[in-house]
Each structure stands twice: as structure tokens, then as C-alpha cells.
Symmetry: C2
Subunit: 229 residues, 2 copies
Amino acid sequence: MKLKVALDLDRAGKDVAAAIRALLARERVLALNLIGSPGCGKTALLEATLPELAKTHAVAVIEGDIATSRDADRIRALGVPCHLINTGGTCHLPPNLIARALQDVDLASTDILFIENVGNLVCPSTQDVGEDAKVAVLSLPEGDDKVLKYPRLFREAGCLVLNKVDLAGVLRFRREQLASDLAQVKHGLPVFELSALTGVGCPSFLEWVRGLYQKKCGRPTVPGRRRKA
Amino acid sequence: MKLKVALDLDRAGKDVAAAIRALLARERVLALNLIGSPGCGKTALLEATLPELAKTHAVAVIEGDIATSRDADRIRALGVPCHLINTGGTCHLPPNLIARALQDVDLASTDILFIENVGNLVCPSTQDVGEDAKVAVLSLPEGDDKVLKYPRLFREAGCLVLNKVDLAGVLRFRREQLASDLAQVKHGLPVFELSALTGVGCPSFLEWVRGLYQKKCGRPTVPGRRRKA
């Protein structure tokens, strides 16, 4: 059997993530890594919350997609700076792609950076990209049995956004099943039930984001003005 | 930087897939590999169709999940033989795990084998596990923009099951967007619009499955009787 030599990518990735984390701390930028299945509503969550968040904080987005600029176009339509990474097939954003993207993000004018990962409930949860927190996004139509079946993301996450609650009336979704699974996997994980479509529940999520920012960075810069001369 | 030595897993995987394909041909078993996001309805599709299919063909299932026996329990509740693979974190079923699982499947008493892959729209589509066809499963709540964003599965698939059409009235799903994407990625791909919940549309999918079986294997064995002495 042929043998190949591979670099120790795992170790290299950890070094890159640590460097990103140090850079973001120095630049006083909060970075949130949005992870969830295709169609769970990651982009819709940004559409529903960025305009409001932009009133108090300077926001930017790194969009990760295998192909197309569809999600990035939606973010740019909000007037929010957005750097698109097309992975071309890779199932997650590795830290080296984030590091490269950060060269194009004006960190001095950014308070909060959202990284929207490739739609995938599995692989992105295994990657530290130097973020302050992973935000797990799950939607009601995906079913109430997912936390124990795909436990790693929920274990790694700083909060869970339960999206598409506007569909609760037409779906069989047992909240007690979700709660029971979460109690096993990550007791006490903050859960924000919301609908990115109707906007219901979004203020609580925004409050959580702003709280994280304040804890890490203090007072935000005034949006539109550079924080550092 | 440290160096690691890794086996040429890609090449080894192809050899294993070829061996599986030869085994299934010899045993006259049709194998379908179900791939889609978490919660798109892969297990529900099996629940909606296996009881009917079992009237004419001997069926069996290999269930792939990162953790829990939740899906396998649902299949076994139908009285269908089911071998569970818990990947423990791996985002897809690699051919070597299928090969090992096949040692526990009574191929002599099986006409059609369904492999339900780990819920993931990306990674399983890159793996040949010796199946006769990949069945892409997409559900309406995931949105109409997924084919171009996650093109590989749709390019590799033998058909597309568009599930949860019962929710069409409460969702904004533009069928013309899906059709336009499909025309670019895989012109002519058979699409079965159905609801695994209500059963609507399932007969057409079953007809497609039976047609594939007949083309490969001819007449099915009588369910419950061994084909080979």
C-alpha cells in the first residue's frame, strides 16, 4: 500500500486559531461563529439582527459557502461589510481561510464580526477558528431529536438559537425532548427561541451578543467612525 | 513542523468500494445511499416506503449516525433488519465501515439495501461506498437555493427526493429556483416531490426504486424466503 506524507494540519490549525484569537483581542473585536445545517436560517438570523445591532456596534461578516455568493449578496444588501469565502467543496471553514479573510476585514472599524460557517451540523463544530463563541443554530423543521444525535456542536456552543418557531403550530416538535437532550449534553446552555422571519425572540439574542461584547471589549465604537486613529 | 505518515486512504477507500460493488452484484442486491441534511426526512422516507416495498422485495437497512440508536430503533420498529453504525463523530459513512457492516447483513435474504448516511449535505456525497445510486434528500424548509450552494450531492445523485411538500403552503419555496439550479448542476435528474409524513408522492419514488432493482437484478426474491439455498 502506498504511503503519503501529510503535514500535521491539526496542530498547525491550532496555532493559527490562537494567532487569530490574539489578533481579535488586540483589535477589540468580538467574533461569533454561526454553525448549523443548510437552511436552518443562519443568514436569515443575520438579516433579522444586523440592522438593529448596527445601531450600537460596528458589524462585519465573513460568509462561508462551498459555492455561490448568494448569502454574501444578502448580507451586502444590508449595507454590512462582508467578505466571502468559497471553499470549493470543503465542508467547513478552517482557521487558515479565516486568517486569510481577516486581511480583508477592517478590524479597526469592527466591533462584532460574525463568521457564517458552511451549512453543516457536524464538521465546523470540530474547528477552533479563534472565535469567542460558537453559536449553534437549529430550526424546528429539523426535529427535536438532533442534540443527542449530533452532540459535539451543542457541547462546543456558547448558545443555541432555535429558529423558525413561527412554524411550531404546523410541526410536531417536542420542546421537552430538546430540553432533555440539552441537559445531558450541555446543561445550562442559553437557548434563544426565535423566528428570523417574523423577528420574534430576536431581541434576547441581541442582548446576549451585546453582553458578550461588553464583557470582552467594553464600550463599542460609534458605528461609522474608526475606533483607532 | 512535525510530519505524520498517513495511509493513502482515498485509494484504499476506492478499492473497498469496488469490492463492495462486486459483492452486491454477486449477491444480486440493489444498494441505495440516502444523503441529506439532518432532519430532511431520510428516516421518515424509509418509514413511509419500506412497509410497502417489503410486500414485493426483501429490504434491509444500514443506519449511519454519529451517536444514538434513535433512527435504527425507528427502522427496527417496522420489522425491517437494520444494522446500526455509530461513527462517534465522523461526518459520513466511509466504505470500510460499510464493508464491516455488510458482514452482519444477510445478503442472501436481501433484495434492496438502504444505507442511511449521517445527516450532512456535504461530506457523504464525496464517498463512493459501492452503492448503485445516491438518493439526495432535500426538504422544503431548507430552502430553494441549496442545489447551487451544495452542488456535489446533486451532481452525484441518481434522483432527488424533495420532501415535506405538505409544508408548501406555509413556506416561501420557489420551485422554479430549484429547477433552474438543477438544470445547471444535473439536467434531467429525476425529482420526486413527496411528503414522508402524509405519504403523498411516495408511490412514484417506489416505482423508481423497483425499476432500478429490476434493471440490476431481475425478479425479486419472495420476501421471507432465502433466494439462495
